[in-house]
Symmetry: C2
Subunit: 105 residues, 2 copies
């Protein structure tokens, strides 16, 4: 049985957002994104894949299309295929995001 552990996978980099893979199949991936204050995932888009971000720790400023919103712990955001999306850690605390994307790009 494939069991993964979010606390053990929680790992930051001083240089940039760190993506820690939790699980992956041919159909999707599930990552834990760890962002130090000031780090970001620049807005980008996927033509045919949907993504979900769920905030596990901290607060993030999410951009989906033209809209930007701050989202905190236990909240999630949907980034539909074809829409530009990104996230910035504008807080002074660490930001941890559970990220699910299907199909894999």
């Amino acid at each position: 049985m494939q069991i993964f552990d979010l606390q053990k996978s929680r790992s930051f980099s001083p240089d940039k957002l760190k993506k820690n893979n939790l699980a992956e199949t041919d159909r999707f991936f599930c990552d834990l994104y760890c962002l130090e204050p000031g780090q970001e995932q620049k807005p980008h888009l996927h033509d045919a894949s949907d993504k979900i971000y769920i905030v596990m720790e901290g607060r993030g400023s999410f951009r989906i299309g033209a809209e930007e919103r701050e989202v905190g712990r236990d909240q999630g955001v949907l980034a539909p295929a074809g829409m530009e999306h990104g996230v910035r850690n504008i807080s002074n605390e660490r930001l941890t995001l559970l990220v699910f994307m299907a199909p894999k790009p």
Copy 2:
């Protein structure tokens, strides 16, 4: 922007496991499963969809194929397509699971 809230979606039923949808697209769904003590999702399988369970609260006894394991908060389990999978709340506390599945069955 579609934002969802895990705490607001956290809802139990005295009768059986309650599935609360958080987000859904043509490609996947993301639910919050809420299980009172004693409740379960009976083992079943999907031929062409993979599922992930992540324990947000409590402890669950997961079965994947022939294997059964107890898994706690901040841990997750992969249920690959074609493998029988289920979960039981054998504890005295509530069990809350984040569930991703793609593609939708």
